[in-house]
């Protein structure tokens, strides 16, 4: 490897960078949940009587929108704590 860096350290460092990059996936759900919450607030303003239904629909939609972000989180966690690349050295 490069001078002074063992191949394990190199893989571990690159995995840490990869985990950080994988967490960029958190941007999308943030925007999506914000849009859902904004429209939910607008809907409550227009029809305050339907607040319970709007709340549950909004939470359900937000939970579904969150899934892609959690896939990124799963990749980051696997890279950090159950690294599959170290076994290939």
């Amino acid at each position: 490897m490069m001078n002074g860096i063992s191949s394990e350290a190199f893989v571990l460092g690159c995995s840490a960078i990869g985990a950080g990059i994988a967490m960029i996936a958190g941007v999308g759900p943030g925007i999506g949940q914000g849009i859902a919450a904004g429209h939910g607030a607008a809907a409550v303003g227009r029809n305050p009587g339907a607040k319970g239904n709007i709340m549950s629909t909004m939470l359900l939609g937000q939970a579904v929108a969150e899934t892609t972000g959690l896939y990124g989180f799963a990749v980051a966690i696997i890279l950090l704590f159950a690294n599959p690349l170290l076994g290939k050295l």
């Binding site: 549950s56 939470l59 359900l60 939970a63 969150e66 899934t67 959690l70 896939y71 989180f73 799963a74 966690i77 704590f81």
Partner: protein, 250 residues
């Protein structure tokens, strides 16, 4: 080198403990099985729920229908009516008999999620707990699909013939995304709290108790309650979509 060691000592005051710890292991047929933190936490959650159920059962049996119910009985009635109303509004008349399962599911997931407050590692932060829960939902979805739509449950996969692969992947992805959602949310809370506890030295933690309290309320109680609600909601919606159209909205 010196600064590196110093910063390590400052910033990693304790070991970061977010993984699953195995306590002891035994072999069954050449396969090593571990008893881990997940088993212990799940057992404690089970004991807590069983004790609550026994007390609730005794309170209900002793109750006199003509008296005004006491505070404990009132809370039990509130919970049961909440679950009944939730299932009825989401699944219609046919869904009323699912309130047993939905109530059990909600209680288990909720208590599992907030067990982080009591110093346990939440059992739902283990994929081996959330995947079976999602698979039960998967079985229920397709059992009810075959029950109400008969062979139509299979043929509707090929409705637009071109979309067959997407339909099949969509069916398989349902339990996967449900289990990953619960697992990911609870694990992210556990990881954040574990990193924070590992980052800050124990002596300073004692002075920062309001910060930790607020974070525990957010990650364990708020996030956990939302995820328990969402899991039950998705279960109800997916099961109810197989009910016949005319009677689904009862």
């Amino acid at each position: 080198m010196g600064t590196g060691m110093l910063s390590q000592r400052v910033f990693l005051a304790q070991e970061v403990d977010i993984g699953i710890t195995g306590y002891f292991h035994f072999e069954v047929g050449g396969q090593t099985l571990w008893i881990t933190t997940t088993h212990v936490s799940l057992l404690l959650v089970m004991i807590a729920l069983t004790v609550f159920a026994l007390f609730a059962n005794r309170a209900i049996k002793k109750a006199n229908p003509e008296d005004v119910p006491g505070p404990f009985l009132n809370v039990i009635e509130l919970l049961v009516e909440l679950i009944d109303g939730l299932t009825k509004s989401n699944m219609g008349k046919r869904g009323a008999r699912f309130s047993n399962y939905i109530g059990t599911l909600f209680a288990v997931i909720l208590v599992c999620n907030i067990s982080g407050l009591f110093g346990l590692r939440p059992p739902t932060a283990d994929y081996g707990v959330t995947l079976p829960l999602a698979l039960i939902t998967f079985v229920l979805i397709h059992y009810n699909g075959f029950k109400y739509e008969k062979a139509g449950h299979v043929t509707k996969l090929f409705q637009p013939v071109l979309l067959t692969p997407i339909n099949i992947i969509g069916e398989v992805a349902t339990p996967l995304s449900m289990s990953l959602r619960l697992f990911g949310n609870i694990l992210s809370g556990t990881v954040m709290m574990g990193l924070l506890y590992g980052l800050i030295p124990k002596l300073i933690q004692a002075f920062l108790w309001p910060v930790f309290g607020v974070l525990h309320v957010y990650f364990d109680v708020f996030s956990g309650a939302i995820q328990a609600y969402v899991f039950c909601m998705l279960t109800m919606v997916f099961i109810a979509q197989n009910f016949p159209e005319d009677e689904a909205q009862g």
